[in-house]
Protein backbone atom coordinates (compact mmCIF):
# COMPACT_ATOMS: atom_id res chain seq x y z
CA UNK A 1 0.00 0.00 0.00
CA UNK A 2 1.20 3.54 -0.74
CA UNK A 3 2.16 5.58 2.28
CA UNK A 4 0.62 9.00 1.81
CA UNK A 5 1.85 10.57 5.03
CA UNK A 6 5.02 9.48 6.81
CA UNK A 7 5.93 11.13 10.09
CA UNK A 8 9.29 10.09 11.44
CA UNK A 9 10.44 10.87 15.00
CA UNK A 10 8.68 14.23 15.04
CA UNK A 11 9.53 16.43 18.01
CA UNK A 12 8.35 19.88 19.04
CA UNK A 13 9.18 21.89 22.16
CA UNK A 14 7.82 25.18 23.42
CA UNK A 15 10.72 26.49 25.52
CA UNK A 16 10.97 23.76 28.18
CA UNK A 17 7.65 22.07 27.45
CA UNK A 18 7.78 18.99 25.24
CA UNK A 19 4.67 19.16 23.07
CA UNK A 20 5.57 16.27 20.75
CA UNK A 21 8.01 13.56 21.70
CA UNK A 22 9.35 11.38 18.88
CA UNK A 23 6.07 10.79 17.10
CA UNK A 24 6.20 8.36 14.20
CA UNK A 25 3.13 7.64 12.15
CA UNK A 26 2.42 6.39 8.65
CA UNK A 27 -0.94 6.89 6.97
CA UNK A 28 -1.86 4.92 3.89
CA UNK A 29 -3.81 6.46 1.01
CA UNK A 30 -7.56 6.08 1.53
CA UNK A 31 -7.35 5.40 5.26
CA UNK A 32 -9.73 6.74 7.92
CA UNK A 33 -7.64 7.49 10.97
CA UNK A 34 -8.96 8.75 14.28
CA UNK A 35 -6.55 10.75 16.42
CA UNK A 36 -7.53 11.12 20.04
CA UNK A 37 -6.01 12.21 23.28
CA UNK A 38 -6.82 14.32 26.32
CA UNK A 39 -6.58 18.13 26.14
CA UNK A 40 -2.94 19.20 25.88
CA UNK A 41 -1.80 15.84 24.54
CA UNK A 42 -0.32 17.44 21.41
CA UNK A 43 -3.00 16.68 18.78
CA UNK A 44 -3.28 20.22 17.45
CA UNK A 45 0.50 20.73 17.64
CA UNK A 46 0.93 17.60 15.55
CA UNK A 47 -1.59 18.90 12.99
CA UNK A 48 0.15 22.29 12.93
CA UNK A 49 3.51 20.61 12.33
CA UNK A 50 2.10 18.38 9.58
CA UNK A 51 0.39 21.33 7.88
CA UNK A 52 3.36 23.70 8.07
CA UNK A 53 1.79 26.15 10.51
CA UNK A 54 4.48 25.24 13.06
CA UNK A 55 8.05 24.14 12.38
CA UNK A 56 9.04 20.86 14.00
CA UNK A 57 12.28 20.84 16.00
CA UNK A 58 13.11 17.22 15.27
CA UNK A 59 12.20 14.51 12.80
CA UNK A 60 10.58 14.81 9.40
CA UNK A 61 7.24 14.80 7.60
CA UNK A 62 6.86 13.29 4.15
CA UNK A 63 3.73 13.68 2.09
CA UNK A 64 3.21 11.68 -1.08
CA UNK A 65 6.92 10.86 -1.01
CA UNK A 66 8.04 14.50 -0.72
CA UNK A 67 9.81 15.92 2.31
CA UNK A 68 7.71 18.79 3.68
CA UNK A 69 10.11 20.21 6.26
CA UNK A 70 10.64 23.95 5.97
CA UNK A 71 7.91 24.68 3.44
CA UNK A 72 5.02 27.05 4.15
CA UNK A 73 1.48 26.05 4.98
CA UNK A 74 0.17 27.19 1.59
CA UNK A 75 2.70 24.94 -0.17
CA UNK A 76 1.46 21.99 1.89
CA UNK A 77 -2.11 22.80 0.84
CA UNK A 78 -1.09 23.00 -2.80
CA UNK A 79 0.48 19.55 -2.51
CA UNK A 80 -2.86 18.16 -1.40
CA UNK A 81 -2.83 18.43 2.37
CA UNK A 82 -5.91 20.27 3.64
CA UNK A 83 -7.17 20.96 7.14
CA UNK A 84 -10.07 22.39 9.04
CA UNK A 85 -9.67 24.37 12.25
CA UNK A 86 -10.85 23.59 15.75
CA UNK A 87 -12.71 26.90 15.76
CA UNK A 88 -14.09 27.72 12.30
CA UNK A 89 -12.08 30.42 10.57
CA UNK A 90 -14.15 31.61 7.61
CA UNK A 91 -13.21 34.65 5.52
CA UNK A 92 -15.71 36.93 7.19
CA UNK A 93 -15.89 39.67 4.58
CA UNK A 94 -16.45 37.23 1.72
CA UNK A 95 -19.65 35.46 0.78
CA UNK A 96 -19.87 31.70 1.10
CA UNK A 97 -19.39 31.44 -2.66
CA UNK A 98 -16.24 33.53 -2.49
CA UNK A 99 -14.99 31.50 0.48
CA UNK A 100 -15.12 28.51 -1.86
CA UNK A 101 -13.45 30.46 -4.64
CA UNK A 102 -10.22 31.09 -2.70
CA UNK A 103 -8.84 27.51 -2.63
CA UNK A 104 -9.94 27.06 -6.24
CA UNK A 105 -8.07 30.20 -7.32
CA UNK A 106 -4.98 29.68 -5.22
CA UNK A 107 -4.61 25.93 -4.89
CA UNK A 108 -6.30 24.17 -7.76
CA UNK A 109 -5.22 26.84 -10.26
CA UNK A 110 -1.65 26.79 -8.89
CA UNK A 111 -1.44 23.08 -9.63
CA UNK A 112 -1.93 24.02 -13.26
CA UNK A 113 -5.44 22.64 -13.62
CA UNK A 114 -7.01 24.35 -16.59
CA UNK A 115 -10.14 25.89 -15.13
CA UNK A 116 -12.29 28.41 -16.90
CA UNK A 117 -14.34 30.99 -15.02
CA UNK A 118 -17.45 28.93 -15.61
CA UNK A 119 -15.77 25.84 -14.14
CA UNK A 120 -14.77 27.66 -10.97
CA UNK A 121 -18.20 29.21 -10.50
CA UNK A 122 -19.91 25.87 -11.07
CA UNK A 123 -17.50 24.06 -8.75
CA UNK A 124 -18.13 26.61 -5.95
CA UNK A 125 -21.88 26.08 -6.24
CA UNK A 126 -21.45 22.31 -6.43
CA UNK A 127 -19.36 22.28 -3.23
CA UNK A 128 -21.91 24.38 -1.39
CA UNK A 129 -24.71 22.13 -2.63
CA UNK A 130 -22.83 19.10 -1.37
CA UNK A 131 -22.77 20.49 2.17
CA UNK A 132 -26.31 21.87 1.93
CA UNK A 133 -25.36 25.54 1.85
CA UNK A 134 -26.24 26.36 -1.74
CA UNK A 135 -29.23 28.49 -0.70
CA UNK A 136 -26.92 30.69 1.36
CA UNK A 137 -24.24 31.05 -1.30
CA UNK A 138 -24.57 34.83 -1.38
CA UNK A 139 -24.66 35.27 2.39
CA UNK A 140 -21.81 36.13 4.69
CA UNK A 141 -20.44 33.57 7.18
CA UNK A 142 -21.86 35.60 10.09
CA UNK A 143 -25.34 34.47 9.00
CA UNK A 144 -24.53 30.80 9.51
CA UNK A 145 -25.36 28.54 12.42
CA UNK A 146 -22.65 26.58 14.20
CA UNK A 147 -23.16 23.42 12.15
CA UNK A 148 -23.30 25.42 8.92
CA UNK A 149 -20.04 27.09 9.86
CA UNK A 150 -18.47 23.65 10.33
CA UNK A 151 -19.84 22.56 6.96
CA UNK A 152 -18.43 25.69 5.32
CA UNK A 153 -15.05 24.90 6.84
CA UNK A 154 -15.20 21.37 5.44
CA UNK A 155 -16.40 22.54 2.03
CA UNK A 156 -13.55 25.05 1.81
CA UNK A 157 -11.05 22.32 2.63
CA UNK A 158 -12.68 20.09 0.01
CA UNK A 159 -12.39 22.90 -2.56
CA UNK A 160 -8.61 22.53 -2.38
CA UNK A 161 -9.09 19.00 -3.79
CA UNK A 162 -6.96 17.39 -1.09
CA UNK A 163 -5.46 13.93 -1.00
CA UNK A 164 -5.42 14.10 2.79
CA UNK A 165 -7.88 16.02 4.97
CA UNK A 166 -7.21 16.63 8.64
CA UNK A 167 -10.49 17.47 10.36
CA UNK A 168 -9.64 19.08 13.70
CA UNK A 169 -12.62 18.76 16.04
CA UNK A 170 -15.15 19.38 13.28
CA UNK A 171 -18.01 18.19 15.49
CA UNK A 172 -17.33 20.10 18.67
CA UNK A 173 -20.48 21.68 20.08
CA UNK A 174 -22.86 20.00 17.63
CA UNK A 175 -26.04 18.06 18.36
CA UNK A 176 -26.45 14.34 17.68
CA UNK A 177 -28.08 14.83 14.27
CA UNK A 178 -25.59 17.50 13.29
CA UNK A 179 -22.74 15.14 14.15
CA UNK A 180 -24.37 12.54 11.88
CA UNK A 181 -24.46 15.12 9.07
CA UNK A 182 -20.75 15.86 9.38
CA UNK A 183 -19.87 12.16 9.66
CA UNK A 184 -21.86 11.43 6.52
CA UNK A 185 -19.93 14.15 4.71
CA UNK A 186 -16.58 12.77 5.83
CA UNK A 187 -17.53 9.23 4.82
CA UNK A 188 -18.62 10.45 1.37
CA UNK A 189 -15.35 12.28 0.98
CA UNK A 190 -13.36 9.21 2.02
CA UNK A 191 -15.29 7.06 -0.44
CA UNK A 192 -14.05 9.37 -3.16
CA UNK A 193 -10.48 8.50 -2.22
CA UNK A 194 -9.59 11.27 0.22
CA UNK A 195 -7.58 10.05 3.19
CA UNK A 196 -8.97 11.46 6.42
CA UNK A 197 -7.47 12.02 9.83
CA UNK A 198 -10.22 12.85 12.30
CA UNK A 199 -9.28 14.56 15.53
CA UNK A 200 -12.21 14.43 17.87
CA UNK A 201 -13.26 14.21 21.51
CA UNK A 202 -16.69 12.74 20.72
CA UNK A 203 -15.84 9.05 21.05
CA UNK A 204 -19.06 7.80 19.46
CA UNK A 205 -18.18 9.72 16.29
CA UNK A 206 -14.54 8.63 16.32
CA UNK A 207 -15.42 4.97 16.85
CA UNK A 208 -18.04 4.91 14.11
CA UNK A 209 -15.82 6.72 11.58
CA UNK A 210 -12.30 5.44 12.18
CA UNK A 211 -10.83 2.24 10.85
CA UNK A 212 -7.68 2.91 12.83
CA UNK A 213 -7.13 4.80 16.05
CA UNK A 214 -4.04 6.65 17.23
CA UNK A 215 -3.80 7.88 20.82
CA UNK A 216 -1.55 10.69 22.00
CA UNK A 217 -0.85 11.43 25.63
CA UNK A 218 1.54 14.14 26.82
CA UNK A 219 3.07 14.44 23.38
CA UNK A 220 3.74 10.70 23.02
CA UNK A 221 1.98 8.14 20.87
CA UNK A 222 0.77 5.45 23.27
CA UNK A 223 -1.41 3.35 20.98
CA UNK A 224 -2.04 2.76 17.29
CA UNK A 225 -4.32 0.11 15.82
CA UNK A 226 -7.91 -1.00 15.22
CA UNK A 227 -10.28 1.14 17.37
CA UNK A 228 -11.71 -1.71 19.46
CA UNK A 229 -8.27 -3.04 20.33
CA UNK A 230 -6.92 0.39 21.14
CA UNK A 231 -9.80 1.19 23.47
CA UNK A 232 -9.11 -2.01 25.39
CA UNK A 233 -5.43 -1.09 25.79
CA UNK A 234 -4.73 -0.65 29.53
CA UNK A 235 -2.50 2.38 28.92
CA UNK A 236 -5.27 4.10 26.97
CA UNK A 237 -7.78 3.26 29.69
CA UNK A 238 -5.43 4.73 32.27
CA UNK A 239 -4.94 7.88 30.21
CA UNK A 240 -8.67 8.41 29.82
CA UNK A 241 -10.03 7.12 33.11
CA UNK A 242 -7.08 7.80 35.37
Amino acid sequence: MTQLLEIDNLGKRFVGFVALDNISLAVTAGERVGLIGPNGSGKSTLVNCICGTLRNDMGSVRFAGQLLDGSSAHQHTRRGLARTFQLPRPFTSLSLLDNMRIPLLYTVAARGTDSSGHDIEARCVELLREVGLEAKAQRLPRDLTQVEMRKLELARAMAAEPKLLIADESMAGLTHSEIEDILELLVRLNERGVTIILIEHIMRAVMSFSRRLVVLVSGRKIADGPPDEVMRDPEVERAYLG
Binding site: T53, A73, P90, T92, D98, Y106, E121, Q138
Partner: protein, 335 residues
Protein backbone atom coordinates in the same frame (compact mmCIF):
# COMPACT_ATOMS: atom_id res chain seq x y z
CA UNK B 1 -17.94 48.16 -15.05
CA UNK B 2 -14.74 47.33 -16.89
CA UNK B 3 -11.54 48.81 -15.52
CA UNK B 4 -10.71 50.26 -18.93
CA UNK B 5 -14.09 52.01 -18.94
CA UNK B 6 -13.43 53.33 -15.44
CA UNK B 7 -10.05 54.61 -16.64
CA UNK B 8 -11.75 56.38 -19.54
CA UNK B 9 -14.43 57.92 -17.30
CA UNK B 10 -11.76 59.11 -14.83
CA UNK B 11 -9.82 60.67 -17.71
CA UNK B 12 -12.93 62.46 -18.98
CA UNK B 13 -13.85 63.72 -15.50
CA UNK B 14 -10.23 64.76 -14.91
CA UNK B 15 -10.17 66.58 -18.26
CA UNK B 16 -13.43 68.37 -17.39
CA UNK B 17 -12.06 69.45 -13.98
CA UNK B 18 -8.88 70.70 -15.64
CA UNK B 19 -10.87 72.62 -18.26
CA UNK B 20 -13.08 74.13 -15.54
CA UNK B 21 -10.02 75.25 -13.55
CA UNK B 22 -8.53 76.84 -16.70
CA UNK B 23 -11.86 78.57 -17.44
CA UNK B 24 -12.00 80.02 -13.92
CA UNK B 25 -8.64 81.65 -14.63
CA UNK B 26 -7.39 81.54 -11.05
CA UNK B 27 -4.14 79.71 -10.20
CA UNK B 28 -5.38 79.02 -6.69
CA UNK B 29 -7.69 76.28 -8.01
CA UNK B 30 -4.67 74.49 -9.47
CA UNK B 31 -2.71 74.79 -6.21
CA UNK B 32 -5.66 73.56 -4.12
CA UNK B 33 -6.63 70.88 -6.66
CA UNK B 34 -3.08 69.55 -6.74
CA UNK B 35 -3.16 68.95 -2.97
CA UNK B 36 -6.52 67.19 -3.15
CA UNK B 37 -5.32 64.97 -6.02
CA UNK B 38 -2.11 64.24 -4.14
CA UNK B 39 -4.25 62.97 -1.28
CA UNK B 40 -6.32 60.86 -3.70
CA UNK B 41 -3.09 59.09 -4.70
CA UNK B 42 -1.79 58.81 -1.13
CA UNK B 43 -5.01 57.47 0.34
CA UNK B 44 -5.53 55.05 -2.57
CA UNK B 45 -1.96 53.81 -2.08
CA UNK B 46 -2.42 53.47 1.69
CA UNK B 47 -5.63 51.54 1.12
CA UNK B 48 -3.88 48.83 -0.93
CA UNK B 49 -2.03 47.70 2.19
CA UNK B 50 -4.21 49.11 4.97
CA UNK B 51 -7.68 48.58 3.55
CA UNK B 52 -7.31 45.52 1.32
CA UNK B 53 -4.80 43.61 3.50
CA UNK B 54 -5.62 45.07 6.91
CA UNK B 55 -2.06 46.22 7.66
CA UNK B 56 -2.18 49.76 9.08
CA UNK B 57 0.75 51.79 7.84
CA UNK B 58 1.68 54.89 9.87
CA UNK B 59 4.70 55.56 7.69
CA UNK B 60 3.00 57.06 4.62
CA UNK B 61 4.95 60.28 5.10
CA UNK B 62 8.22 58.34 4.81
CA UNK B 63 7.33 56.92 1.38
CA UNK B 64 5.99 60.28 0.24
CA UNK B 65 9.17 62.01 1.41
CA UNK B 66 11.34 59.38 -0.29
CA UNK B 67 9.67 60.27 -3.58
CA UNK B 68 10.18 63.98 -2.92
CA UNK B 69 13.83 63.61 -1.92
CA UNK B 70 14.53 61.32 -4.90
CA UNK B 71 13.50 64.28 -7.04
CA UNK B 72 15.78 66.64 -5.10
CA UNK B 73 18.71 64.22 -5.40
CA UNK B 74 18.21 63.77 -9.14
CA UNK B 75 17.55 67.46 -9.67
CA UNK B 76 20.97 68.22 -8.25
CA UNK B 77 22.55 65.85 -10.75
CA UNK B 78 20.51 66.82 -13.80
CA UNK B 79 16.98 68.27 -14.00
CA UNK B 80 14.86 65.56 -15.57
CA UNK B 81 11.27 65.80 -16.84
CA UNK B 82 8.69 65.16 -14.13
CA UNK B 83 7.32 61.91 -15.64
CA UNK B 84 10.80 60.40 -15.32
CA UNK B 85 11.10 61.69 -11.76
CA UNK B 86 7.76 60.03 -10.99
CA UNK B 87 9.09 56.70 -12.21
CA UNK B 88 12.34 57.11 -10.25
CA UNK B 89 10.53 58.15 -7.05
CA UNK B 90 8.15 55.22 -7.47
CA UNK B 91 11.00 52.74 -7.91
CA UNK B 92 12.92 54.05 -4.86
CA UNK B 93 9.84 54.03 -2.62
CA UNK B 94 8.71 50.68 -4.01
CA UNK B 95 12.09 49.10 -3.21
CA UNK B 96 12.01 50.58 0.31
CA UNK B 97 8.42 49.29 0.63
CA UNK B 98 9.61 45.81 -0.35
CA UNK B 99 12.47 45.97 2.15
CA UNK B 100 10.19 47.24 4.89
CA UNK B 101 7.82 44.43 4.07
CA UNK B 102 10.53 41.82 4.49
CA UNK B 103 11.51 43.26 7.84
CA UNK B 104 8.09 43.94 9.32
CA UNK B 105 5.44 41.72 7.77
CA UNK B 106 5.81 39.03 10.38
CA UNK B 107 4.44 41.64 12.77
CA UNK B 108 0.76 42.30 13.01
CA UNK B 109 -1.63 44.93 14.35
CA UNK B 110 -0.14 47.62 16.58
CA UNK B 111 3.37 46.14 16.25
CA UNK B 112 3.35 46.56 12.47
CA UNK B 113 1.94 50.09 12.81
CA UNK B 114 4.70 51.06 15.25
CA UNK B 115 7.35 49.57 12.95
CA UNK B 116 6.14 51.72 10.04
CA UNK B 117 6.13 54.78 12.29
CA UNK B 118 9.71 53.96 13.26
CA UNK B 119 10.62 53.75 9.56
CA UNK B 120 9.44 57.35 9.11
CA UNK B 121 11.51 58.53 12.07
CA UNK B 122 14.64 56.70 10.86
CA UNK B 123 14.33 58.03 7.31
CA UNK B 124 13.70 61.58 8.52
CA UNK B 125 16.85 61.38 10.66
CA UNK B 126 18.84 60.16 7.66
CA UNK B 127 17.54 62.99 5.46
CA UNK B 128 18.19 65.61 8.14
CA UNK B 129 21.80 64.47 8.22
CA UNK B 130 22.25 64.14 4.45
CA UNK B 131 23.75 67.40 3.19
CA UNK B 132 23.54 66.48 -0.49
CA UNK B 133 19.74 66.91 -0.41
CA UNK B 134 19.87 69.96 1.84
CA UNK B 135 19.87 68.25 5.23
CA UNK B 136 18.03 70.15 7.94
CA UNK B 137 18.44 73.43 5.98
CA UNK B 138 16.20 72.18 3.22
CA UNK B 139 16.60 72.48 -0.55
CA UNK B 140 15.33 74.98 -3.09
CA UNK B 141 13.91 73.79 -6.37
CA UNK B 142 13.28 76.60 -8.82
CA UNK B 143 10.47 75.55 -11.09
CA UNK B 144 10.19 77.00 -14.59
CA UNK B 145 7.57 79.68 -15.18
CA UNK B 146 5.88 77.68 -17.89
CA UNK B 147 6.27 74.50 -19.88
CA UNK B 148 5.11 73.59 -23.39
CA UNK B 149 1.47 74.48 -24.03
CA UNK B 150 0.80 75.27 -20.37
CA UNK B 151 0.64 78.94 -19.48
CA UNK B 152 1.74 78.22 -15.93
CA UNK B 153 3.88 75.44 -14.48
CA UNK B 154 1.30 74.72 -11.76
CA UNK B 155 -1.19 73.76 -14.49
CA UNK B 156 1.32 71.18 -15.68
CA UNK B 157 1.85 69.85 -12.15
CA UNK B 158 -1.91 69.69 -11.64
CA UNK B 159 -2.30 67.67 -14.84
CA UNK B 160 0.53 65.30 -13.85
CA UNK B 161 -1.08 64.68 -10.47
CA UNK B 162 -4.47 64.25 -12.13
CA UNK B 163 -3.07 61.53 -14.42
CA UNK B 164 -1.33 59.88 -11.47
CA UNK B 165 -4.59 59.88 -9.50
CA UNK B 166 -6.43 58.31 -12.45
CA UNK B 167 -3.69 55.68 -12.70
CA UNK B 168 -3.77 54.94 -8.96
CA UNK B 169 -7.56 54.59 -8.92
CA UNK B 170 -7.46 52.26 -11.92
CA UNK B 171 -4.73 50.12 -10.34
CA UNK B 172 -6.70 49.89 -7.07
CA UNK B 173 -9.84 48.93 -8.94
CA UNK B 174 -8.07 46.28 -11.03
CA UNK B 175 -6.53 44.77 -7.87
CA UNK B 176 -9.86 44.73 -6.08
CA UNK B 177 -11.57 42.65 -8.75
CA UNK B 178 -8.69 40.27 -9.35
CA UNK B 179 -7.28 37.07 -7.87
CA UNK B 180 -4.78 39.30 -6.06
CA UNK B 181 -7.64 41.27 -4.49
CA UNK B 182 -9.24 38.07 -3.22
CA UNK B 183 -5.90 37.06 -1.74
CA UNK B 184 -5.59 40.45 -0.03
CA UNK B 185 -9.09 40.08 1.43
CA UNK B 186 -8.23 36.69 2.92
CA UNK B 187 -5.13 38.20 4.55
CA UNK B 188 -7.32 40.90 6.07
CA UNK B 189 -9.83 38.34 7.33
CA UNK B 190 -7.62 35.51 8.60
CA UNK B 191 -4.03 34.84 7.59
CA UNK B 192 -3.91 31.35 9.03
CA UNK B 193 -7.01 30.29 7.13
CA UNK B 194 -5.63 32.00 4.02
CA UNK B 195 -2.43 29.92 4.17
CA UNK B 196 -4.53 26.80 4.73
CA UNK B 197 -6.44 27.68 1.56
CA UNK B 198 -3.24 27.91 -0.47
CA UNK B 199 -2.80 31.70 -0.41
CA UNK B 200 0.91 32.66 -0.33
CA UNK B 201 0.34 35.38 2.27
CA UNK B 202 3.91 36.64 2.62
CA UNK B 203 4.36 37.06 -1.13
CA UNK B 204 1.04 38.89 -1.41
CA UNK B 205 1.88 41.19 1.48
CA UNK B 206 5.19 42.03 -0.16
CA UNK B 207 3.37 42.86 -3.38
CA UNK B 208 1.03 45.12 -1.38
CA UNK B 209 3.84 46.96 0.45
CA UNK B 210 5.75 47.44 -2.80
CA UNK B 211 2.76 48.76 -4.74
CA UNK B 212 1.59 50.94 -1.89
CA UNK B 213 5.09 52.36 -1.30
CA UNK B 214 5.67 52.95 -5.01
CA UNK B 215 2.43 54.91 -5.44
CA UNK B 216 3.16 57.02 -2.36
CA UNK B 217 6.63 57.77 -3.69
CA UNK B 218 5.16 58.78 -7.03
CA UNK B 219 2.79 61.14 -5.22
CA UNK B 220 5.78 62.74 -3.51
CA UNK B 221 8.03 63.03 -6.59
CA UNK B 222 6.58 66.29 -8.02
CA UNK B 223 6.18 67.81 -4.55
CA UNK B 224 9.52 69.76 -4.53
CA UNK B 225 8.41 71.49 -7.76
CA UNK B 226 5.05 72.30 -6.19
CA UNK B 227 6.39 73.65 -2.90
CA UNK B 228 9.62 75.22 -4.25
CA UNK B 229 11.48 74.76 -0.98
CA UNK B 230 11.62 71.30 0.55
CA UNK B 231 12.65 70.70 4.14
CA UNK B 232 12.37 67.49 6.17
CA UNK B 233 9.54 68.78 8.35
CA UNK B 234 7.36 69.53 5.30
CA UNK B 235 8.11 66.26 3.47
CA UNK B 236 7.71 64.08 6.58
CA UNK B 237 4.74 66.13 7.85
CA UNK B 238 2.25 64.55 10.22
CA UNK B 239 -0.51 65.69 7.82
CA UNK B 240 0.48 63.05 5.26
CA UNK B 241 0.51 60.16 7.73
CA UNK B 242 -2.78 61.19 9.35
CA UNK B 243 -4.63 62.13 6.18
CA UNK B 244 -3.63 59.03 4.25
CA UNK B 245 -5.19 56.93 7.03
CA UNK B 246 -8.19 59.14 7.80
CA UNK B 247 -9.31 59.58 4.20
CA UNK B 248 -9.82 55.88 3.41
CA UNK B 249 -11.38 55.32 6.85
CA UNK B 250 -13.90 58.08 6.26
CA UNK B 251 -14.61 57.02 2.68
CA UNK B 252 -14.55 53.27 3.36
CA UNK B 253 -11.51 51.01 3.27
CA UNK B 254 -12.84 47.95 1.51
CA UNK B 255 -13.36 49.54 -1.88
CA UNK B 256 -11.36 51.69 -4.30
CA UNK B 257 -14.14 54.31 -4.15
CA UNK B 258 -13.70 54.89 -0.41
CA UNK B 259 -10.27 56.56 -0.49
CA UNK B 260 -11.36 58.63 -3.51
CA UNK B 261 -14.44 59.97 -1.73
CA UNK B 262 -12.56 60.47 1.54
CA UNK B 263 -9.71 62.33 -0.14
CA UNK B 264 -11.98 64.62 -2.14
CA UNK B 265 -14.20 65.35 0.87
CA UNK B 266 -11.50 65.83 3.48
CA UNK B 267 -8.96 67.39 1.11
CA UNK B 268 -11.49 69.98 -0.13
CA UNK B 269 -12.63 70.75 3.42
CA UNK B 270 -9.04 71.31 4.48
CA UNK B 271 -8.37 73.61 1.52
CA UNK B 272 -11.53 75.55 2.36
CA UNK B 273 -10.50 75.82 6.01
CA UNK B 274 -7.01 76.94 5.01
CA UNK B 275 -8.32 79.96 3.08
CA UNK B 276 -11.28 80.81 5.33
CA UNK B 277 -9.98 80.03 8.85
CA UNK B 278 -6.41 78.72 9.13
CA UNK B 279 -4.39 75.73 8.01
CA UNK B 280 -3.88 75.02 11.71
CA UNK B 281 -7.43 73.64 11.94
CA UNK B 282 -6.82 71.00 9.26
CA UNK B 283 -5.86 68.25 11.70
CA UNK B 284 -8.72 69.28 13.98
CA UNK B 285 -11.15 68.72 11.10
CA UNK B 286 -9.64 65.29 10.46
CA UNK B 287 -9.86 64.37 14.14
CA UNK B 288 -13.47 65.46 14.52
CA UNK B 289 -14.56 63.72 11.33
CA UNK B 290 -12.75 60.52 12.31
CA UNK B 291 -14.41 60.43 15.72
CA UNK B 292 -17.79 61.08 14.10
CA UNK B 293 -17.35 58.38 11.49
CA UNK B 294 -16.05 55.77 13.92
CA UNK B 295 -19.24 56.27 15.95
CA UNK B 296 -21.82 56.75 13.20
CA UNK B 297 -20.37 54.90 10.22
CA UNK B 298 -17.48 52.57 11.08
CA UNK B 299 -17.50 51.26 7.51
CA UNK B 300 -17.18 54.77 6.10
CA UNK B 301 -19.37 56.54 3.59
CA UNK B 302 -19.40 53.50 1.30
CA UNK B 303 -20.77 51.36 4.14
CA UNK B 304 -23.48 53.95 4.83
CA UNK B 305 -24.49 54.13 1.17
CA UNK B 306 -24.67 50.34 0.87
CA UNK B 307 -26.80 50.16 3.98
CA UNK B 308 -29.15 52.86 2.76
CA UNK B 309 -29.52 51.72 -0.84
CA UNK B 310 -29.78 48.01 -0.34
CA UNK B 311 -31.79 47.79 2.88
CA UNK B 312 -30.22 44.33 3.06
CA UNK B 313 -26.63 45.12 3.90
CA UNK B 314 -25.98 41.38 4.35
CA UNK B 315 -26.10 41.02 0.60
CA UNK B 316 -22.89 43.00 0.43
CA UNK B 317 -19.50 41.73 1.23
CA UNK B 318 -18.11 45.14 1.96
CA UNK B 319 -15.56 45.34 -0.79
CA UNK B 320 -17.90 44.31 -3.58
CA UNK B 321 -21.34 43.05 -4.35
CA UNK B 322 -21.22 39.38 -3.53
CA UNK B 323 -19.78 37.40 -6.40
CA UNK B 324 -20.06 40.25 -8.90
CA UNK B 325 -17.06 40.67 -11.18
CA UNK B 326 -15.23 37.95 -9.31
CA UNK B 327 -12.26 36.20 -10.89
CA UNK B 328 -13.46 32.82 -11.97
CA UNK B 329 -17.01 34.09 -12.29
CA UNK B 330 -18.54 32.88 -15.52
CA UNK B 331 -20.39 36.04 -16.48
CA UNK B 332 -18.30 38.66 -14.77
CA UNK B 333 -14.74 37.61 -15.06
CA UNK B 334 -12.08 40.02 -13.88
CA UNK B 335 -10.84 42.24 -16.61
Amino acid sequence: MRSSLLFLICLIVGGAVFAAAVALGNDYYFFAGYVVLQYVVLSTAWNILGGYCGYVNFGSAAFFALGAYSTVALHRLYPLPIPLLLVFGGVVSGVVGLGTGYLTLRLRGAFFAIATLALAVVLETLIVNWDYVGGSRGAYIVRPESIGPFGNYIEYLFLIMMLLAVGAITVARVIERSRLGYGFATIRDDELAAEASGVPTLRLKLIATTMSGALMGMAGAPFPYYIGYLQPSSAFGLDYAVNSIAMPLIGGTTSWVGPLIGAILLGSLQQLATVTISSAVNLLIVGLLLVGFVIVAPNGIIGLVHKYLQRKPDDFVGRRRVGADAPGRASGRAR
